[in-house]
Amino acid sequence: MAESKLAAGSKIAAPPRGLPAWLEIPLGGILVEPGNAVEYRTGSWRTRRPIHDPARCTSCMICWLYCPDDAIVVREQKVVGVDKDHCKGCGICARECPVKGAMNMAEGGAY
């Protein structure tokens, strides 16, 4: 987590990195800063993994649109692969991809 903006001027202390002890957790389970879902590594749930083939991909962005975890990595308007920390292996990208073979699911979570 980036240095919490809140910790400076706020009454609420930001939790430290790692797994904090009970007294280090903010009151009432509040999230003290926005956008911290990025901290949650949903990639650890993965039992299958999408394999992207840039040779076939047309960068139509369908997979980017459908991915529930925002795990399709796009650079300069081209799909370049999958965010391994957050891709949970649901297979939606491969199912929705209109180009045969551009995104295929393979068994096993590890890349």
Partner: protein, 395 residues
């Protein structure tokens, strides 16, 4: 200057709420609601308060609206009774777990079935483990004083927990008693402004409340909540003491009556304590060393204080105005007995389940509990642990 008037428990509660002038009152304004909200709605309509009154479509919604408004930094109060509290049950845990300092005034009435609208403690005892602080009042004056104190207890930065103020249905809610009212200014000064620890509308640092908490964090949250609840004992005493210094009526966790040199002790909650005092006076005149211990604060449970007060007694009777179907005796009995046993104080303790569904509790019946208690003290052991006061066909 304090004013002396005659008012019901409902009226006194509404009056305290008018003086507190909360930011939001969300309530379900029909049965099982009591007159409190009806009276308060009149204050709103007459422009006597600045409160946003939210008339919702159920008690579940009432507590949900209270959670939202409290999280947004608004001082929030609601009232309910009986089935209404039961319908709030799910959301009670959310209020406590999210550390929202809502004040709820609950008129103690039994839960259906059989359908009955009269007093017992089965409603609030059903939510005793929901994480709310629970205070039980003996008379209308205490109801009024406690509603005012509840705001300070709930919002104390070391507490930040919801508080349930309980008053016995009809016995207190609908009976006119002598009441000493404080000035509006005195009340406003005592409660002060609400300074929320978490404020969802803090645009500089917008937090999120009620998000998913994974198994790696849930247990730690619950522990923090337990410690805050435990720590509330000192705050309840502190606020009750400060109230006494300012207005002449002090309150604590327990209320002891002629207990110090007593041999026979009766433990009781709520309005029955008044009857028990009269019985104690009568017994004392006849040379029987009787006394009462009224538990004002049931959550957090003041185990050390109770054991300290009961230590050295010959026998103890715990009065429960609720049962635990299938458990051994009532909820107060179980906890008092466990507290004594855990601390190695092994004295005979009996339980009386009484007054369910509004069954009257005359002095003669309380006197019979003391008679039984005398026999237990003499024998030095419990003959029958769980007893039912004035139940026809039981002996």
């Amino acid at each position: 200057m304090p004013r002396l008037i005659g008012l019901t428990g409902d009226g006194a509660t509404a009056e305290a709420m008018r003086q507190i002038d909360p930011d939001v009152v969300a309530a379900y304004p029909i049965t099982p609601q009591t007159e409190i909200v009806e009276r308060f709605a009149e204050f709103v309509a007459d422009g006597l308060v600045n409160t946003e009154f939210v008339a919702v479509e159920s008690e579940h919604s009432a507590m949900s609206a209270c959670c939202g408004s409290s999280a947004a930094g608004a001082r929030t109060i609601t009232c309910t009774s009986s089935q209404g509290l039961a319908l709030m049950h799910e959301v009670l845990y959310i209020a406590a777990g999210n550390r929202l300092p809502i004040v709820l005034i609950n008129v103690n009435r039994t839960l259906s079935a059989p359908l009955n609208i009269h007093c017992d403690h089965s409603d609030s005892m059903g939510s005793r483990d929901s994480g709310w602080i629970q205070l039980y009042c003996e008379n209308v004056q205490e109801v009024y004083d406690t509603v005012i104190q509840a705001v300070r207890i709930a919002e104390h930065p070391q507490v930040m927990l919801p508080v349930m103020v309980n008053l016995d249905g009809f016995v207190l809610s609908h009976s006119v008693e002598r009441l000493e009212l404080l000035d509006d200014e005195q009340v406003r000064e005592f409660v002060g402004p609400f300074q929320p620890v978490v404020d969802l509308l803090d645009l500089e640092h917008p937090p999120a409340l009620g998000a998913l908490v994974a198994p790696e964090f849930h247990f730690e949250h619950k522990y923090a909540q337990w410690l805050a609840t435990d720590g509330a004992r000192a705050v309840i005493e502190g606020v009750g003491c400060e109230f006494g210094e300012r207005f002449g009526r002090s309150y604590g966790l327990l209320d002891l009556y002629r207990l110090e040199d007593a041999e026979l002790a009766l433990v009781v909650l709520g309005s029955t304590a008044g009857t028990a005092r009269a019985v104690v006076d009568d017994l004392r005149e006849r040379g029987i060393r009787a006394g009462t211990l009224r538990i004002r604060c049931f959550r957090p449970f003041p185990a050390d204080e109770i054991v300290g007060a009961l230590q050295g007694k010959k026998a103890v009777a715990v009065m429960d105005r609720a049962g635990t179907q299938g458990g051994e005796g009532g909820p107060v009995f179980g906890e008092v007995r466990a507290a004594l046993h855990t601390r190695g104080v092994l004295l005979p303790v009996i339980n009386y389940i009484y007054g369910l569904g509004g069954r009257d509790v005359p002095a003669a019946s309380v006197a019979r509990v003391f008679t039984h208690l005398g026999q237990v003290a003499e024998a030095g052991k419990v003959d029958r642990a769980v007893n039912y006061l004035d139940l026809r066909g039981w002996n």
